[in-house]
Subunit: 370 residues, 2 copies
Amino acid sequence: MSLDFQLIHKDKNTRARAGILKINGIKVETPVFMPVATQGAIRNTPINLVEETGAKIILGNTYHLHIYPGESLIKKHKGLSKFLGWHYATLTDSGGFQVFSLPDKKISDEGIQFRYEKNGQKVFLTPELSIKIQEDIGADIIMVLDECVEYPCEKDYAKRAVERTIKWAKMCKDAHKKENQYLFGIVQGSVYKDLREYCAKELLKLNFPGYAIGGVSVGEGLELLKKVIEFTEPFLPENKPRYLMGVGLPEDLIESVERGMDMFDCVIPTRFGRSGTVFTVRGKIRITNKDYRRDMYPIDISCDCYTCKNFTRAYIHHLFRVKEPLGATLCSIHNIHFYQNLMKNIRKAILEDIFYDFKNDFYANYFHKL
Amino acid sequence: MSLDFQLIHKDKNTRARAGILKINGIKVETPVFMPVATQGAIRNTPINLVEETGAKIILGNTYHLHIYPGESLIKKHKGLSKFLGWHYATLTDSGGFQVFSLPDKKISDEGIQFRYEKNGQKVFLTPELSIKIQEDIGADIIMVLDECVEYPCEKDYAKRAVERTIKWAKMCKDAHKKENQYLFGIVQGSVYKDLREYCAKELLKLNFPGYAIGGVSVGEGLELLKKVIEFTEPFLPENKPRYLMGVGLPEDLIESVERGMDMFDCVIPTRFGRSGTVFTVRGKIRITNKDYRRDMYPIDISCDCYTCKNFTRAYIHHLFRVKEPLGATLCSIHNIHFYQNLMKNIRKAILEDIFYDFKNDFYANYFHKL
């Protein structure tokens, strides 16, 4: 068992990369999108139907899982995959990201003091505790505890957060002992070029098996996101996977792959699916719109997901209208499949050195410019 | 395409029967339990996972489907099966049963005037309209409009309801024209032996391809239910399927099969599943009970359903605790499978002439008498 990243091909016109990540015997083609099983389930969706979308790695949230059901129960199940009935790879975040949005947190160099929003339980999350929890949860890839700052963020504060992030990364690395589990570093630095560079260079000294760009998807928007990646990516090692945390919409993924990112996670496919917003090659549609009341087509005529092979837009519209939870399930499956298929098509375009053509075609359709 | 019922074997000690119902090319082994897709879906449950339980016929509710999405949309999909993505047989009730529980209905010989509870829409449901709606919904088996009385019910009123039921049965039969769709008669008569006999004999003159016992599961309890079946069953033709409407718990099914019933439907598997009540060979359990918080066994160790093959009680308990809708899905799948498996085991016992042994063993386990 090991983690092995092979860079297969670099697009000749962009920084887009196609690779193969082998994690404990699971083969994951990159660029890859990881659906999010926030509280121990991909919401509303039987895990076998998630597997049918082609997803090979999913993400669990340490913050939520620590409280319910607690990591000891997951450990008792021999890890997150077995707990969920999932047969492929898993990744957990450090728990930090959720904490930074809480109102009454206190951050010191030792860790983060907070109360769990749902039950008031007090937690003091230290780098060591985050690693301990993640070891017990037992995902294949785990993340260092970092300090994720808001956007916008004063440079002075961003600098202090970077220093803390570097310090915590060392502490996490020292604390992490579990075999066949791979700890990724996270580059912070808000939107400041010199801080991103500094953070990346310091983390590289710790020789993590993979690196993430964190502190994005916090309201900075696509244009700044692109800049942050452009600031940071040149300092990340070419032979290791690069994970852009918490991103995003299809266009965010495309722009980020173009700038050299390999791994992504986001709740959008399931969150949008729950409310009936579904992705198609011709853009997003709201299946609850009355236009679809008698629409006999599948959500996306070019899609071969479980939902599109079996159900019409009119049927799914009906399910939402009568508040039948199966509607959320069918839309979530479709959206997860849409994302998996998007990444597959992106990868194919990279391998054929036609990433720009792919992107232009995709946007022309997706943004109705055809 | 046709409806064909073959009586394969009668248990030598009881009135239990094993048969094969061939409906438009679908083979359904009887006794059979039909899960209920009230509003166009088995609640919370992807239909492919319902198919995996071995179910071969499901029921849709005409009352709900008439309002949302309306039968014309279902007709446009070429029938209920295609609308739902279901590959086997379907049955619809007449819409009458739901109406009888409404507060402001008005019943006359012409039909039933009511308002749809969810949107106030006024409907005048006549025998002809019920048939017209059911023809458009396009189930393989449809039901006559009948007058289902409450329990308890004065004999005078029950008698009038029986007369109306007979009259409406004739009107339904005259109105029904669709090919490859089979209209069953419904015997009413509350708990009165002579009324049940009279109703059955009158309906037999109309030569329906199958007969139901209606007006049960309205609060009369198992002892009276058994009597009603015993009153009625001797007057039903042996070579036609007998459908006991809206029943019930596992013990209700066993007692009813013992008394010669072949077909059943009930929302119990999914309704109980939604709230975390699941069936096991050792009786019902509430998965939300804290006893199951760290329970590493499947819901039922002897069960080979999707849920039991892949998930622990602790996992499902966790899903309910964090209000993850997947918990309802997994419990519904298990319960539907439990019912399918129960019917399979009942049928096997009938074929082997050991129905009583099966029943005694089942009860001993189920009611913890072992």
